[in-house]
Symmetry: C2
Subunit: 405 residues, 2 copies
């Protein structure tokens, strides 16, 4: 029997316990032996729960137990997760985590310790919930130069944007409903400001480049400024607006960004709606592929943790090629990236549209009936150039980048 | 250096050679050593090609070369692929194939030989081209009870159906254009009759159940009877028609089928268009996920072969848990499966519709203006029951199964 422990028995942690119990038969068939949760570290007691007797309150009881070979970290945050995970790895225990904050902040060091110990630090569940994107990057797409990863990485914001699009509703109204339904947290900043997507794309960019991409260097914009008129403009263009995290290998460096993006119907991400995540991967052989699924949720996330636990169990003393090795790599400034831009202007299209369009290099003019504004869809240009031209206007309301032909 | 050989230097085989050469740097980083193609078996010579000097015509030269550890089979068909692959495995060489006909017909035996030899027989490229569905089933979704695999598994038929839908065109016209463009073969039966999808879903069903599902027992219908009116009915239902292969774990057995299916817009497969493939996987923890990508094409398929080659190279003497073990498992008869059915009737809807709808249990009546026919969308019922009711009519034109709410 392989013994594992769980640190942090919240939604994900208890889901992992349930997954291991429920799927014991499959697990035994795949491993050739039992895999059981032997200890659960939490501050609370869980009277009446089936795992009540497994609960311990002292980390030392867990880390000093030589029988525990795999530790699952589902506490979230970095304190004390970082300290605990590091201690577990140093004690020779393999670690599986669902904690993107931990991986984004300390992944490089923790991966390095795992390598030195010839064990593994796995974090499939930290990105894309039940979608095995990290395993695919490491194994399914092996031998490939990955040229692009672009994903809808946050279910909460995708749910909000989808409802705004379908109902013509405004951001604030949908957010507060989403909070009531439990799809958004009371403190929604991490989601709606793009911080969650930022950590996830930093992790994926690090894997793609084999270098540490610091999430603090990722240009990040959230969805709080998107309003119902943006979706009316998008509809006129046959496009949707999605919050995407993107890592692009370009001639002059790696572009790593999070922002709302107009995407066309023929983009596979266009159809990723509601709380689902979609992650588009391009390789130099592969063409375009997309992984789609539940980006959050107790059991989908637990399923990713479980897959990592099995991988760890199968390789008790072998460090697999996951994560990244190299020293830090800074993304190129967003000003050096090229996009098209949907730019909204206050004022009358008939009066101001033609001249504005001309200044942006014959941009496409889009007029919304019944409003006192208009928009331009510019040609593709460097953001630096866009900013220079935009600085010449005093009536710009907003800008959304566009990936449209 | 790890030496590999390729048997069959057609489109895929030459793509594998190109992939190995082009991505040598990534390969060496991932393997820690070189992986090179040392021999290529083909009946032809390839004067002027970069691999000209690697070509051999005698299989014995390849199988008796102790330096060759991995053999890629991209000949297609079962003769002589079966005999050659078996001989390679018996000689202790790992085999990677893109040949679904071979895997569907002889997979059980070849997997068994690989297990006895503690090597691997991999076939990622046989299903879904560049989509790593088999690796995901074996690793990304480890520890999971897979309850359903439903896929658009054939790019040619999906291309034809997509064009029929978008252009209102008829099957024969689109097929002949697809043939001219090279998207369909001159002898298109394997695609349009569903035989290709049938072999692929049989392979996936075998992996899902860990038992051999014989492709000859898979109920298979192609797309040759779909016409432009079917798409007009579908549009009225907000649905699309896709050729899907499906393996479903049900209370009374495994249903494994290939047929055209009406699917709703909220089904992730709805948006899989053109030559792309999409494979939807459901697990008891996972919820719904989908893998999307190029189902064919030289380099995407070669990328799947290459990933298998790297996996084989990393595990030179360890049989990984891929494929299936158990003895044969027969799918349940299609008559025992339940669907909704879109049934087209000759005649006047006003005269005949109401009574027909009543006999199918208050089916939904759909009228196409300007035609001498109408259709019913029945409630969900066993196909056995559908057939009994349908037998009472002499004016049924066609039936398409529907996965609609």
């Amino acid at each position: 029997m392989i013994k594992a422990a769980i640190m942090g028995c919240g939604t994900i942690g208890s889901g992992v316990y349930e997954a291991v119990e429920r799927n014991q038969e499959v697990i035994q068939r795949e491993l050739g032996e039992e895999l059981r949760i032997a200890k659960i570290l939490d501050l609370r007691n869980f009277p009446g729960e089936p795992f009540e007797k497994l609960v311990v309150h002292d980390f030392q009881e867990l880390v000093s137990d030589p029988e525990i070979r795999i530790v699952v970290e589902t506490m979230g945050g970095t304190k004390p997760a970082y300290e605990f995970v590091k201690a577990c790895l140093l004690a020779g225990k393999q670690v599986v985590t669902s904690n993107k904050a931990l991986v984004a902040a300390h992944g490089t060091e923790l991966l390095q310790i795992a390598r030195e110990k010839q064990i593994n630090f796995f974090f499939e569940a930290a990105v894309g919930g039940g979608i095995p994107v990290i395993r695919n990057l490491g194994s399914g797409y092996a031998g490939q130069v990955i040229t692009e990863i672009t994903g809808i990485l946050n279910g909460t914001t995708n749910y909000i944007l989808t409802r705004m699009e379908r109902e013509g509703a405004d951001f604030a109204a949908v957010l507060s409903e989403a909070q009531e339904l439990g799809y958004a947290e009371r403190n929604p900043e991490a989601d709606i400001e793009g911080y969650d997507s930022c950590r996830k794309i930093a992790i994926l960019a690090s894997i793609m480049t084999d270098r540490e991409v610091n999430f603090e260097e990722v240009h990040t914009e959230g969805i709080t400024k998107i309003d119902s008129l943006d979706f009316r403009y998008a509809a006129k263009l046959g496009a949707s607006i999605k919050l995407v995290g993107s890592a692009l290998r370009e001639a002059d460096g790696i572009a790593v960004t999070v922002f709302p993006l107009l995407i066309a119907q023929d983009n596979p991400l266009y159809s990723v709606s509601g709380v689902y995540n979609g992650i588009l991967v391009k390789g130099n052989l592969l063409d375009t592929t997309m992984l789609y699924g539940s980006g959050a949720g107790m059991l989908p996330t637990a399923s990713a943790v479980l897959a990592d636990m099995l991988e760890a169990a199968k390789h008790p003393a072998e460090n697999l090629l996951y994560g990244w090795h190299g020293k830090a790599l800074s993304p190129k400034p967003v000003a050096e990236s090229s996009h098209r831009y949907l730019v909204r202007f206050a004022g009358n299209a008939a009066e101001l549209g033609a001249e504005a369009a001309e200044r942006f290099g014959r941009a496409e003019l889009i007029v919304l009936e019944g409003t006192e504004e208009f928009a331009l869809l510019t040609p593709r240009m460097r953001e630096r150039e866009y900013r220079t031209i935009a600085a010449g206007f005093s009536n710009i309301i907003s800008m959304i980048r566009a990936e449209l032909d």
